[in-house]
């Protein structure tokens, strides 16, 4: 089976290198975790995959036609924002799928009226429900209490539908629970 994505000795950063060298392959249907301490460069690595950070060395090979969705560590959320959760999931194409109940009850609300945790869950569904082949989740447990984190784990298991997930988190327990493989990341 051909990998969806190959990272070979990747060194990435901005003005200067921040992370790497890191090597890993991603195959269809895998859930892979990037685990590392704060400041290890996990988010920078994801940004390198999406073209938002500079690659200093190494190779990054993508399968032809690969579609990616990226849930950022700090998703864009203007202070005043009239878009509803429904607008957001329609935008990414997640509106074509039936959302879980935990998500569905939030979709009518304006984004600026959701709590941090509710907004996080809607954002994650907007990525998981999209038609992307590879979904990148950066610190998806941010703003979530233990109950919401349990809901997130259900969401990932039920919403992934055989696609590939790359998760960044500094929470080892969460990574061990949802991922089939873990890649350590260090500066």
């Amino acid at each position: 089976m051909q990998p969806l994505l190959v990272c070979g000795g990747l060194i990435a950063g901005y003005d200067r290198p921040v992370v790497g060298p890191v090597s890993f392959d991603l195959y269809a249907g895998e859930v892979v975790g990037l685990l590392g301490s704060n400041g290890a460069g996990k988010s920078t690595l994801l940004k390198a995959l999406t073209g938002q950070a500079r690659i200093f060395d190494g190779c990054l090979t993508r399968a032809p036609g690969l579609r990616m969705a990226h849930h950022r560590q700090q998703p864009v959320r203007p202070r005043e924002c009239p878009l509803t959760g429904d607008d957001l999931v329609r935008l990414t194409g997640a509106g074509r799928r039936t959302p879980p109940d935990d998500v569905a009850r939030l979709l009518d609300c304006r984004m600026d009226q959701l709590s941090g945790g509710q907004f996080q869950i809607v954002q994650i569904w907007a990525c998981l429900g999209s038609p992307a082949d590879l979904i990148l989740l950066d610190e998806p447990t941010n703003n979530l209490d233990p109950e919401a984190t349990a809901g997130l784990i259900r969401l990932i298991r039920e919403g992934l539908g055989g696609r590939t997930l790359l998760v960044v988190s500094h929470e080892a327990d969460f990574i061990q629970t949802v991922c089939s493989r873990v890649v350590p990341v260090s500066p």
């Binding site: 940004k47 995959l49 999406t50 073209g51 938002q52 579609r67 990616m68 969705a69 990226h70 950022r72 998703p75 864009v76 203007p78 202070r79 005043e80 009239p82 878009l83 509803t84 429904d86 607008d87 957001l88 935008l91 990414t92 009518d108 304006r110 600026d112 009226q113 959701l114 709590s115 941090g116 509710q118 907004f119």
Partner: protein
């Protein structure tokens, strides 16, 4: 008063304004989406200055406005992250150039004054044709453009992550803004054009729930304000631009009559 409104001389300006008001308001919604609301005033001021300079060069006013606003769009595209500070400089330059250029001839002075005052009644057939063309272009490209602009705002790395170029929709939007502002400014005047771009979007942003409603509400507010202003300006024999600005300023109070400032729970 009714006789004034039914005067055939007013028909063409009335229809032109009625077409332009909702278009400007909807473009204003997208400028707000991109945090570029101050750019609207910079575009309007430079379009006004371009119109006055065009008179000095014996060129059509609309052409001068389009060229000046287009120049701003090009400069904006060259700046990686144009901030409000840049737009303030463009506003000041536009104001200064408009006043200096208007001093060169009596005609330039008259055009400059009408652009600053906002005299809708001076609009002619070219404005109407331009407004119709603008609406056709907007209707054709908005379904595609809207999705791209929203994706760029809320998922900034969507395009680079998927090997797509963001330039086509950025350039298309800039062209749409340039055309809208140039035509609206030369029809309504500088401050009235800015008010139409800013106020309806600002109110709708607060009151509406959902993206489609923001667009419809902004367009509705703009049309209502326009109709009221047209009647008031004719009845009170006042220049149209300032009346429209004052009506929009009064309508903006709606923001404070709605729910409290949205707070995140």
């Amino acid at each position: 008063m009714l006789e004034l409104l039914l005067d055939p001389l007013f028909h063409l300006p009335f229809v032109t304004g009625l077409l332009l008001a909702p278009v400007a308001a909807m473009v204003g919604v997208y400028l707000r989406l991109r945090d570029e609301w101050l750019a609207a005033l910079a575009y309007a001021q430079l379009a006004g200055a371009g119109g006055v300079v065009a008179v000095a060069l014996h060129a059509p006013v609309i052409l001068g406005a389009v060229v000046a606003a287009g120049g701003l769009a090009v400069i904006k595209g060259l700046l990686t992250r144009p901030g409000n500070d840049h737009y303030v400089i463009f506003i000041l330059v536009g104001w200064g150039v408009a006043l200096v250029a208007s001093a060169f001839s009596a005609h330039g002075d008259m055009v400059g004054k009408s652009l600053m005052d906002g005299q809708l009644y001076f609009t002619g057939r070219p404005h109407l044709m331009a407004a119709v063309a603008l609406i056709v272009a907007g209707v054709l490209c908005l379904p595609w453009l809207s999705g791209c602009l929203l994706m760029s705002r809320f998922y900034p790395d969507h395009f680079s992550a998927n090997g797509l170029s963001a330039r086509p929709h950025q350039i298309t939007f800039d062209l749409l803004v340039v055309a809208t502002v140039a035509i609206t400014t030369t029809s309504f005047g500088v401050m009235a054009a800015f008010a139409l771009l800013f106020v309806p979007a600002w109110i709708a942003w607060r009151l509406a729930r959902g993206w489609v409603w923001v667009l419809w509400l902004a367009a509705g507010i703009a049309v209502a304000a326009y109709l009221l202003s047209f009647v008031l300006a004719a009845a009170l024999d006042q220049p149209f631009g300032p009346v429209l600005v004052l009506v929009l300023a009064a309508i903006s109070l709606l923001r404070w009559l709605s729910m409290p400032v949205p707070g995140r729970r």
